[in-house]
């Protein structure tokens, strides 16, 4: 049915590797679906979904909302700011703009913990030790990468289409809204998704920025819960982990084809 050029031992080895790779999940699911979980690697003793119900209600539910607000907010702000700047960047002649963008990307490669000190101080002064502060900071940190990606996508929109529209009397606004944006939809989706998952997974910033438990996103909540000594509610934590991991995993598989295109765009443009 398919052109399989793999030898049998090789295929078996690869299959085994995949099995080893997913094996840690056995424990996760075994406990999450066990109403009487004790954190051991067991078949569920009392199969049920009580843990999941706990993981989406009360405090846990609020953390989910916090994470969602931070992630969607960051992704939307950085994509919007990115688009506004990336189109002019792509179309205007500016000496050394690629060098500039790459320098910024490299600058962004510095440890987040490194700029954290000044960011923390500035946010404290500005009264931004809250979710808005987290979103703005993440946008600042994301922006070089967002700009580079979006500019690369806008570069691939054929200029001839814009010319034709201009000749037909379209304004800049119409050109951008009706030609450029629709044609770079895949790219924009990728950028939005990258920022979304980045912010959804972010741990360090909210750890330092969230002063009160009510503001914790799921990453900090999970860390706080499993770092706690004594009675750890494994059933709840495993279910909580699954709920926390699900959106990023789910959206990826929904957008898989776009992702790979976007990915090729990131990889090797130098």
């Amino acid at each position: 049915m398919e052109r399989t050029g793999l030898s049998r031992p090789m295929a078996i080895a690869l299959g085994l590797m995949a099995l080893v790779w997913v094996s840690p999940f056995a424990w996760l699911f075994g406990n999450a679906f066990d109403n009487a979980s004790v954190g051991r690697l067991n078949w569920p003793a009392e199969f049920g979904i009580d843990n999941f119900l706990h993981a989406v209600s009360g405090d846990a539910g609020r953390m989910f909302i916090n994470s969602l607000v931070i992630a969607a907010g960051t992704a939307t702000i950085s994509t919007f700011v990115g688009i506004c700047a990336a189109y002019p960047l792509s179309r205007l002649r500016m000496p050394g703009k690629n060098a500039l963008l790459w320098t910024l990307v490299l600058l962004r490669m510095l440890p987040a913990a490194g700029v954290l000190v000044p960011i923390y101080f500035t946010a404290q002064r500005a009264g931004l030790l809250n979710q808005l502060g987290v979103m703005l900071t993440l946008t600042v940190l994301n922006l070089p990468f967002t700009l580079l990606l979006l500019k690369n996508f806008f570069d691939t929109v054929p200029i001839e289409l814009e010319e034709a529209a201009y000749v037909d009397g379209a304004s800049l606004w119409q050109i951008v809204m009706n030609i450029v944006l629709p044609m770079s939809k895949a790219g924009i989706a990728v950028v939005w998704f990258f920022s979304f998952t980045g912010a959804w997974n972010e741990f360090l910033l909210p750890l330092i920025f969230s002063r009160v438990e009510a503001g914790f996103p799921m990453s900090v909540g999970l860390y706080a819960a499993f770092g706690r000594q004594g009675s750890i509610d494994y059933g709840f934590l495993t279910a909580f982990s699954i709920v926390y991991a699900a959106p990023a995993v789910g959206v990826y598989f929904l957008l898989r084809r776009n992702m790979n295109t976007g990915f090729a765009g990131v990889g090797v443009k130098g």
Partner: protein, 297 residues
């Protein structure tokens, strides 16, 4: 360049500049923060208490401390190098490449299964991965239950006794997908005819890989190295959540060291010096890789 004469651009220069303004401000903030870190690395600024308000200039004291303190920066640097070398370069990059070249020959179910398996690790939030691996390597965890106890051995507390290897493996598990995807794209860019030609000329499998494919995908290798080295070098959440840098200082990589100094002990000035030192190291690494990217032999 070719776009310069486009009238819908040139007649709207002001509007386009205004659109770029928010981005310029935010980039300005990024530059400001970097400059700030540099400046305050010469002070004794503290997180709380008197030093938070009445800080003073201390010259190069913080930088001196980087090299004179035992169990400080230098040890942490070597821990980081070990971690990066084994988890990023040997683990993720080599494994990703081997997988990409093995799965290249097939498009079947097996490929999908392997891809989904390694992608799951990549997509999982850092903290969930940390939780999962803490559990897997615990005394009642998967490894002990399946591989140690059934052979009549005593359960091993991996996270305590083999902390650095455990976080290294966890990071390989988590990050291989990126290298894999990049190498898949790289190998797809090598024309099949070239490989066929080498085959006809009698090149062995190994020669084809070593002398034909690898030189052709050199830019991809350099890009991949650049990204994963720097990411791993500054990677924080997984290690911090699994071990907090311990036991002792066994897994205190530079990112964790920086956090512990700046926010754990409240030495913001010293923390800033650590981040400047990290920035310099990252900068040097990038130059090496970018050179690899630009100048073919």
């Amino acid at each position: 360049m070719r776009h310069q004469a486009n009238p819908w651009i040139t007649s709207n220069l002001w509007l386009l500049s205004a659109a770029m303004l928010p981005a310029i401000i935010l980039i300005g903030a990024l530059l400001y923060f970097t400059g700030w870190a540099f400046t305050f690395s010469f002070t004794d600024l503290g997180l709380t208490g008197r030093k938070a308000v009445e800080w003073s200039w201390v010259g190069f004291d913080n930088y001196e401390r980087l090299f004179t303190r035992r169990g400080g920066f230098v040890d942490s640097f070597w821990t980081t190098v070990t971690f990066v070398f084994f988890s990023a370069i040997v683990g993720q990059s080599l494994l990703g490449f081997l997988l990409a070249s093995a799965l290249r020959q097939t498009y079947g179910t097996l490929r999908t299964v392997v891809e989904v398996a390694i992608m799951l690790g990549w997509l999982l939030p850092d903290i969930v991965a940390a939780f999962l691996w803490s559990a897997t390597t615990s005394q009642t965890g998967l490894i002990n239950s399946l591989l140690i106890v059934p052979f009549g051995l005593k359960p091993v507390n991996f996270i305590n006794d083999f902390a650095l290897p455990v976080v290294t493996i966890a990071n390989i598990w988590k990050g291989t997908a990126w290298s894999y995807l990049l190498f898949v794209a790289a190998l797809d860019s090598v024309p099949r005819e070239v490989i066929e030609a080498a085959k006809i000329d009698g090149a062995t499998r190994f020669q084809r890989m070593w002398m034909v494919v690898l030189p052709m995908i050199r830019p991809h290798i350099a890009t991949n190295m650049l990204f994963i080295t720097i990411w791993t070098f500054t990677y924080f959440p997984l290690i911090f959540a699994m071990t907090g840098g311990g036991p002792g200082k066994a897994t205190e990589t530079l990112a964790v060291f920086l956090y512990n100094q700046a926010f754990g002990r409240g030495n913001l000035g010293f923390g800033a010096a650590i981040s400047v030192a990290m920035l310099i190291i990252v900068g040097l690494l990038s130059t090496v890789y970018l050179r690899m990217l630009k100048e073919p032999k």
